[in-house]
Subunit: 174 residues, 4 copies
Amino acid sequence: MNEALERASRIKLVIFDVDGVLTDGSLIWGDDGLEYKAFNSHDGLGMKMLKASGVAMAIITGRSSRVVTRRAEGTGIAYVYQGAEDKLIAFQDLLQKTGLRAEQCAFMGDDVVDLPPMRRCGLAVTVPAAPDLVKQHSHYVTKHEGGHGAARELCELVMQAQGTFTAQLQQFLL
Amino acid sequence: MNEALERASRIKLVIFDVDGVLTDGSLIWGDDGLEYKAFNSHDGLGMKMLKASGVAMAIITGRSSRVVTRRAEGTGIAYVYQGAEDKLIAFQDLLQKTGLRAEQCAFMGDDVVDLPPMRRCGLAVTVPAAPDLVKQHSHYVTKHEGGHGAARELCELVMQAQGTFTAQLQQFLL
Amino acid sequence: MNEALERASRIKLVIFDVDGVLTDGSLIWGDDGLEYKAFNSHDGLGMKMLKASGVAMAIITGRSSRVVTRRAEGTGIAYVYQGAEDKLIAFQDLLQKTGLRAEQCAFMGDDVVDLPPMRRCGLAVTVPAAPDLVKQHSHYVTKHEGGHGAARELCELVMQAQGTFTAQLQQFLL
Amino acid sequence: MNEALERASRIKLVIFDVDGVLTDGSLIWGDDGLEYKAFNSHDGLGMKMLKASGVAMAIITGRSSRVVTRRAEGTGIAYVYQGAEDKLIAFQDLLQKTGLRAEQCAFMGDDVVDLPPMRRCGLAVTVPAAPDLVKQHSHYVTKHEGGHGAARELCELVMQAQGTFTAQLQQFLL
């Protein structure tokens, strides 16, 4: 936890995988060919506070869906990579675009495909349902499951480490 | 619990947040741009009994969705504020509209955006999944999660405190 | 359990409530006005075996939805009462239609609106999530929650009590 | 477990039931007549790795839905039998088509209708929510529930038994 907090203090960009991180990993499909996702309201508020605190956000996901674009717009996520079969390529493109170094980025993933960026970023975070191998390569495992507040937990961790959380909460305590 | 019951005995209006209170906090979205919500059948019956017992109900939510209007109509909720970015403004408007004092209102929320009205109303209630800060400002934390009977639990608490619960149940015991 | 088994041995008709019994109580609504329900595959097979064993089935629900009609057709449920605000009237109509006595009927409900038929039928069954008052008026509380195998559990209980369960399983053990 | 591993070492084809195995058993229906299923993202990656390791996959399900075809295509499942009322006939057809012997096939089911192929195949696997009778006829019961990683667990078991799992993971550890 101490190491996670120290790493979190340097983060300028938080990158989220989608399925299993911003959702519980359910791929909900209809017979009409449409796809559905269940995001979490606590996560959304955490992201808005994180952005207001001065940290940027991105999504890198292997799948592709219009609801991801909509979720990103609604929560202030600036960079969205969908259909990213090789997540390392997307991660490296993101570093170039933002001019950030890898240790200034957090990556939150839930499966082995997320390991390449997780092993290179400054703060690797995963969820309780992740395979053991992913947990072994993580600096922090959230208490909340994906789609049930895991992303909110990471947002709060970063704000706490950076001393910005109290200021974000203050607006609701007037 | 004793303080919560005493506070509940004075309540004339119960105000519900939606996501995380009347639902489990899932924001279910389809690729066609539609939004879905999962309400709870136990909650619905509790609301109908509460209304029949003489207590009014309202919804104040930061998001906006047609299903919320429909849910309000089906359960006898008289006042609906959607898209309420500042929940305190909606709360104060509600006080003016109903002529009630803040201590005659209960507010059930699940996140820090709900704190401004929760800190001013007569009975602040939250759910197990709420952040600690919200629990610290609540007079009562339900045993049931949002979308799984939390609202029903509040409805029963108010009716028990006001001595109207037995009469409401009597119709089913003839 | 012994009393429940003895009561189950006399059952000729099993009546199910829908929300909270055949589902987990979630009322899933879309912004387009459509309604969705999540039934359970284990329940469906239990109902087919129960019907094949010679026991009839019915649905009595206070709400109304096309998916209920479809579910009844797919599982061999012969009688469907939807929009039944007073479940006792539907129950009494069902007795007249089938020529059965109340003690030959089981009723599975999950809330206080189900009490009038539950208090008059031969075998009253409910689910773990039901209010205490409903449990107090039940002869049997299932181990499985509604929408997660509760109805299957009742189907098996009736077949076991009537000595028909082994024969129903035999077809899968050839 | 040792017997399961030994049996898994001989498997050339893994056959999945759908409802309760690739999903949590929920049959999600809309009032417009459409059907929905919630698959799991961990399962999908497990299937892709299993296929890449040289093991073929099939689906045998009693129900019928377009989303199953789509899921099979997206995960590399070569053979799909839908509407298979008698799963043994489908299983025997599959043996003929592939030229495999029964002991080279694993079958993962969650209910008594799955017993005929499960009792004849080389590795019978089921989920925690399955009836006891199905567990008694299984060589392995997964720790994860259906729709929550059960299929992934079987994919990993087969790859571990065949010594191919480490190679599959290696691509993510470069």
